[in-house]
Amino acid sequence: MRNLLSLLPLVGLIIIVQLLTSWTDTTFYLTQITMSAYYSLLIIGLCTLMGYAGQISLGHAGFFAIGGYISAALTTHNLVAFKETALIRMLDGFNILMSGEDIYGDSLMVINPWAACIVAVLAAGLIAWVLGIPVLKLKGHYLAMATLGFGVIIYRIVLAVEYFGEADGISEVPSFTLIPGLEVSGDFGARVENYYIAWGLVIIGMIILRNLINSRVGRALRSIHASEEAAGAMGVNTSRYKLQVFILSAIFAAVAGVFLTHYNGGIGPSEAGVMKSVRYVAIVAVGGMAHLWGALTMGVLLNFLSLRGVFGSYDDAVFGLILIIIMLFAPNGILSLNWKGLLDKISGRTNKGKAAGGKD
């Protein structure tokens, strides 16, 4: 219960921001905040994997892309030509097809977004499972490199496969009706409701992950981070827990991918790029690694600045730079930084003054 109450300030802030943008007629900001919220969903999942369980992944843009691309492909590729095949009839029987007309007035038959979403998320979970069994035996740099390899593979696949639109990606992804009257879509009219959908998802994610971390499983994950040998000696099934948290974080990434793709109405190969994975890792690091609130704050802030184009053409470079600076000066994240100590450090004069004072 206390856990839920501590989320109230966040809920208040979300509402205040929305009201402020309405009053000041700047609701266009909500678009980037919504997108940042979706990216943050991936980031808090990655934070649980990296910060708490201590397993680095440089392939999470891959899971985001698996979610986004599968959902996009299933909900855009026209199945009318296969209308009479047994498979399509069966799918229709399960009521998971959606019929309509495309922009040229031809009849269109695609998979319903709900079904597509479930398939996409399950696919990401399954791939995480198959990938995780061998690679999670690796530690540290080796795990980073193996997951990086996975990210590169996914990037090249979406670039090369016609079904995924090659370099163009997939566009005209339909909106996703969660419940009648509530749609994930990029329509200007649906800006406010989509802002709340995204934040609703983030809040659910935060509740789930905070519950997890403050539990028997959370302690087991943190013990694995500290010493796999000692964790094993305490009866923690280390390989199983690592695999489970890896799958969980992949599912968070995939859900973010699905929702953001339906919100944007499309997805392109850059979402699967290695630089995206590096960005996510950088944000978790800036947030303080084992720090869900830090990851969320930095996830929203830095993605928002990036989406607003504040970093210009140096977007990726900025995140690379952030990673270097954090590793050098604040390996525990900037929220846990001793600001006063740092200021003292920067202004050598203060230090000298203190040293002189010490001699007296």
């Binding site: 997890l212 028997r216 943190r222 000696a233 305490m234």
Partner: protein, 251 residues
């Protein structure tokens, strides 16, 4: 039938026989010490028993179940707890949280139940907390419950590690050099503690360098030298054993 039986246990590292055809048994409720000079294979022996290392050949039987081939977490779940020579506490976790990990095998909340904070997991959580606090009290370190474990002094860290192992409610407790790095007063304290642990009904096996500690508290001593067992007897007899004296003091 002994609680723990080791027979013909063998471990080769390349051409080195780190543990060479070692056999002995540990009776329930006893304190068994394994001594030997540096490099005699004592820690390797522990790692083989607890599943951290795979044996080349031989058998280890605990509660009539074969242990070889089992993973460390499976062996722990059978009721075998251990401590490490260079204290392995979980950093970034408090003393209490460290000990709470020791309750892992005595609790059951999984991923889904934990994520949803099912009401029964909250009850389980408070039982874990309560039991762990009892362990801290047993070792007299309850005042450090909320301190980050790795920030404590070395002797206190050893106590935390012991509390964590005891939280598992083990049938058998393996202590790898529990007195290493402690002064004579702390060592004597550890000795009293180990006797108390035995009085709780927990069988103890310890690897140790400190002769005074071993001679005081053990029921039985196994002496290893270059991976081989050279003697096994009660402390008084070990003290008079010529081969043991030769190994320890030279000819």
């Amino acid at each position: 039938m002994a609680l723990l039986e080791i027979s013909g246990l063998h471990k080769k590292f390349g051409g080195l026989h780190a543990v060479n055809n070692v056999s002995f048994a540990v009776e329930k409720g006893s304190i068994k010490a394994v001594i030997g000079p540096n490099g005699a294979g004592k820690t390797t022996l522990f790692n083989l028993i607890t599943g951290t290392l795979g044996a080349t050949s031989g058998d280890v039987t605990f509660l009539d179940k074969p242990l070889l081939g089992k993973k460390p977490h499976q062996i722990a779940a059978l009721g075998m707890a251990r401590t490490f020579q260079n204290v392995k506490l979980f950093h970034d976790m408090t003393v209490l949280e460290n000990v709470m990990v020791g309750r892992h095998i005595r609790s059951s909340a999984g991923f889904l139940a934990s994520m949803l904070h099912m009401p029964w997991t909250l009850r389980e959580e408070s039982r874990i907390r309560q039991k762990s606090m009892q362990m801290l009290e047993l070792l007299g370190i309850e005042e450090f419950a909320d301190t980050e474990a790795t920030s404590l002094a070395f002797g206190q860290q050893r106590a935390v590690e012991l509390a964590r192992a005891l939280a598992l409610e083990p049938t058998i407790l393996l202590l790898d050099e529990p007195a290493a790095g402690l002064n004579i007063y702390e060592t004597a304290e550890v000795g009293r503690l180990i006797s108390r642990i035995r009085d709780l009904g927990i069988t103890v096996v310890l690897v140790e360098h400190d002769m005074s500690l071993v001679m005081d508290i053990s029921d039985d001593i196994v002496v290893l030298s270059f991976g081989q067992k050279i003697a096994e007897d009660v402390p008084e007899a070990i003290q008079k054993n010529e081969e043991v004296i030769k190994v320890y003091l030279g000819e």
